[in-house]
Amino acid sequence: MSARPLALSSRIPPGLAHAGLLWPSLGVILVFMVAPIAIMLTYSFLVPGAYGGVEWTFSTAAYEQILFERDFLDDSLTFTPDYLIIVARSLAQATIATLLCLVISVPTAYYIATRSDRVKNIWLFLITIPYWVNLLIRTIALLFVLRDDGPINSALVDLGVIGQPLALSYNGFAISLGLIYSFLPFMVLPLYSAFERFDFRLLEAAYDLYASRRVAFFRIVLPVMRPGLIAGSLLVFIPSVGSYLAPDILGGGKTLMIGNLIGTQFQAARNWPFGAALSMILLTITLIVLVWLARRAAQQQQTN
């Protein structure tokens, strides 16, 4: 793998070309994203305003609140697992959703990549057209399909396969399904585009060497898909952790995930500093996952 930077023109020095390519994106994000988040970070060390907003008094109460609460009755600080449970649940749900997405998307992306050119594009657009419908509507529509008297249950009951409707809605299962449904193309498309150039002669060579289908897939095909796997996983895992529609609508609002929790702090709960503090924690967790994945990707590049 060549490490020589791509030069766009022999007249522009590579360093400048490099900067010119990179800095529009970096600049836009630094100014319009990092700066606002720095404001948020500041807010997390302030005191909530009476009806939203903040008051400019320094305090670490927001961070304290994540782990400790003042007891209802005697005002002592006691450890509370409430928020940790919510964070843990969100991470678990997101992980399950990402893994299931992987299981569904890898074969699908492979299949699409092995179609003829014309059919490929049809598949791609088939996969993305439903996403022109707003996420809220799609989520509600999914709920309607899963409901006790929705088409699935009605059909199964009418056919006599089951006696009582299956509990497909208002629970963790529905939330996972909802997350997968929300983010499937975010896994399929990167996988597909990373994989599309796969040289199938490698596969043929593997079979010539008497490799079984399974070995061929896991040892030859999958490693080539790796950059797509990482991109797709990030694009599914991270939004899933912060998701608020799926637990709200599909989970029946019976459990809180961190997306709901943070959202509430900026709305009904009127506690912006706490919301900011929670976001900083969430950000740190995702940063760690991100950097870990990026390092692993880099290592793979080097060994290839």
Binding site: S2, A3, R4, P5, L6, S9, H18, G20, L21, L22, S25, L26, V28, I29, F32, M33, P36, I37, I104, P107, Y110, T114, I122, L126, I127, T128, Y131, N134, L135, I137, I140, L142, F144, Y181, L184, P190, Y192, S193, A194, F195, E196, R197, F200, L203, E204, Y207, G228, A231, L234, L235, G259, G263, F266, G275, L282, L283, L290, A294, A297, Q301
Partner: protein
């Protein structure tokens, strides 16, 4: 004979079934949605007969049409700008320096990592503090920012899995770097670019909370309109506008497909 064998070898059992299953899963709720857009009653769960009334309502409703058009226009612009920026960034970070690369990677994926409500409130505070008045421009800026990671990651993945010796080979054959880029790299990158653009487009079209807080008077998008409607309960009007969006996207895809066919013939 080798080609026949090759075709056979590329097939893995169950993959086609899974892919079809995938599409069925994706479309089942959409089909239900479309069916209920023709519901005579006001419910989205109880069928009361066939009727076009909700489509009539949508066509009479200027606000919802304007909102839908706004959403698409903003999504197209944001996705395109984000993809162009992301392309540059992907090229620069994939084959670039080691150390700065990781930092750039973090910044480029940063918008992905922040919960939407936080970005929304933070952007609102920021825009007001800096004195940028809210309107279409602020929506566009906010959308471009969060679209960049969605465009960047697929393009980068594509770039990484490409044969990196091709540009070197082109250089050896005395092609200028610009030509090498345009003639070789860019076409090879195309699936990645298309993926990135599509994802950015979807994410922009869907955005609600960030748009809600940074939009100015007179600048409304479809999600804003729909969420506002829910206060009085969801009616099949929402189904109707969604089905129309689906129809619009299908038509666009067909048109671009036909244009692509025509292009290929030459």
């Amino acid at each position: 004979m080798p080609t026949a064998r090759l075709r056979d070898l590329r097939v893995f059992p169950g993959f086609s079934l899974l892919s079809v299953g995938c599409v069925v899963f994706l479309y089942a709720p959409i089909v239900v949605l479309a069916i209920y857009s023709f519901n005579d009653g006001r419910s989205v769960t109880r069928w009361a007969g066939f009727s076009f009334r909700w489509y009539q309502t949508v066509f009479a409703n200027q606000n919802i049409q304007a909102a839908a058009i706004n959403s698409v226009v903003i999504a197209v612009i944001a996705a395109t700008v984000a993809t162009v920026f992301a392309l540059g960034a992907a090229i620069a970070t994939v084959n670039g320096k080691k150390g700065g690369g990781e930092g750039a990677y973090v910044v480029l994926t940063f918008p992905l990592m922040v919960p939407e409500i936080v970005t929304a409130v933070a952007s609102l505070v920021f825009f007001v503090a800096v004195g940028i008045s809210l309107g279409f421009a602020t929506i566009l800026i906010a959308h471009i920012v969060f679209c960049i990671p969605f465009a960047y990651l697929p393009i980068k993945a594509r770039l990484e899995s490409m044969d990196a010796t091709l540009p070197s080979a082109a250089a050896d054959l005395y092609a200028s770097p610009a030509k090498a880029f345009l003639r070789i790299t860019l076409p090879l990158l195309l699936p990645g670019l298309v993926s990135g653009w599509l994802l950015a487009f979807i994410i922009s079209l869907d955005d609600f909370i960030i748009t809600a807080l940074v939009a100015g008077p007179g600048a409304t998008t479809l999600p804003l309109h729909i969420y506002g409607m829910l206060r009085l309960g969801m009616t099949p009007e929402v189904n109707a506008i969604s089905t129309l969006m689906l129809a619009a996207s299908t038509v666009l895809v067909l048109i671009s497909g036909l244009l692509g066919q025509a292009g290929r013939k030459h």
